[in-house]
């Protein structure tokens, strides 16, 4: 697959414009509604949503339990639901288990909590390697999991989306929910990262 360095505009660029103009002429689509959809995912829906879910689970044990029991409902409590998040499962990292998510067949990803997936998540190398050599992939992302810690890789489907609940880092006992949310990265909720306190190794 081409990487982000490959900027040549493909044939598909012209074909999608042709499709849009034909469908608009037929009165079947509204280009302005499409603009609003783009704005939503470019500016409003993204990993900050997931970070709020994680931070709440860290400070509120009852919420954490609801999240693990019925993630779709618990995430909806915070107002995050809809397209590509209809059925959610949250997998929790612990001292003995590290979880990661992938979609080996395509690109499924929990849109309401993480936004649209990065190119590397949808790319052939990640999809191929993460299930065969998860520790090697984690190492490339700067995460070294000890040999005695289990690594679980969850293969997302079109119907079911996973979100990783990362471990709360040590030394954050004084932080409130908003401060904790600011520490939570996208990659920590995919499982290719861990949450670190600023400047300190996790």
């Amino acid at each position: 697959m081409p990487t982000h360095a490959d900027r040549k505009e493909p044939e598909a660029a012209l074909r999608v414009r042709a499709l849009e103009s034909l469908l608009a002429e037929k009165g079947l689509i509204d280009p302005k509604a499409m603009d609003a959809m783009v704005d939503l995912y470019e500016n409003r829906i993204g990993p900050r949503n997931g970070a709020r879910v994680v931070a709440k689970a860290w400070v509120d044990p009852a919420y954490r339990q609801r999240l693990l029991d019925d993630a779709t409902a618990a995430i909806r409590e915070l107002g995050f639901s809809g397209l590509q998040g209809e059925d959610m499962v949250v997998v929790e990292n612990t001292d003995s288990v590290h979880n990661m998510i992938v979609c080996t067949l395509c690109s499924c990803y929990p849109w309401p909590t993480l936004g649209l997936p990065p190119v590397w998540y949808k790319s052939a190398p990640y999809r191929a390697r993460v299930v065969a050599d998860p520790r090697g992939v984690l190492h490339e992302f700067g995460v070294d999991v000890p040999d005695d810690k289990e690594v679980r890789v969850w293969d997302t489907t079109a119907e079911l989306r996973y979100l990783v609940l990362p471990q709360r880092p040590a030394g954050t006992e004084h932080m409130d929910e908003a401060q904790l949310a600011a520490l939570v990265t996208r990659d920590s909720m995919i499982g290719t990262g861990v949450v670190r306190t600023n400047g300190a190794p996790a």
Binding site: M1, P2, T3, H4, R7, E9, P10, A12, A13, L14, R15, V16, R17, A18, L19, E20, S21, L22, L23, K26, L28, I29, D30, A33, M34, D35, M37, V38, Y41, E42, G46, L83, Q84, V102, T104, L105, C106, S107, C108, G115, L116, P118, V119, W120, K122, S123, A124, P125, Y126, R127, A128, R129, V131, A132, V137, E140, F141, D155, A158
Partner: protein, 103 residues
């Protein structure tokens, strides 16, 4: 069905290449391809599974060499043509017009 899309465990596909501060979209046409899904799936009556099935019908070399939103555009054309909403010929003709700068 086994096929090129079933990439789990395959070797030799190269490095994972994360981009620092990656934008949500890399080109304007990607925004149109993305929004086309939400704009069409209800009135055309299709699911993500059907869309993915059409992506999986791509030739293996084309599949690996094209990007995510190119896969989507490939599938939109087929899903919509199958329902008689827009034909391949209509799209080809409009592409030719757009390529000549006629809008």
């Amino acid at each position: 069905m086994n096929g090129i899309h079933d990439l789990g465990g395959m070797h030799g596909l190269g490095r994972i290449d994360p981009e620092t501060d990656e934008p949500v979209f890399h080109a304007e046409w990607e925004t149109r391809a993305f929004a086309m899904f939400a704009a069409t799936y209800v009135f055309a009556g299709y699911t993500v599974d059907e869309l993915r099935h059409d992506i999986e019908q791509m030739g293996p070399a084309e599949y690996l060499e094209s990007s995510y939103y190119e896969h989507w555009v490939h599938a939109f054309e087929r899903v919509l043509a199958r329902r008689g909403i827009v034909t391949r010929e209509e799209i080809d003709a409009r592409v030719a017009q757009l390529a000549q700068g006629a809008h």
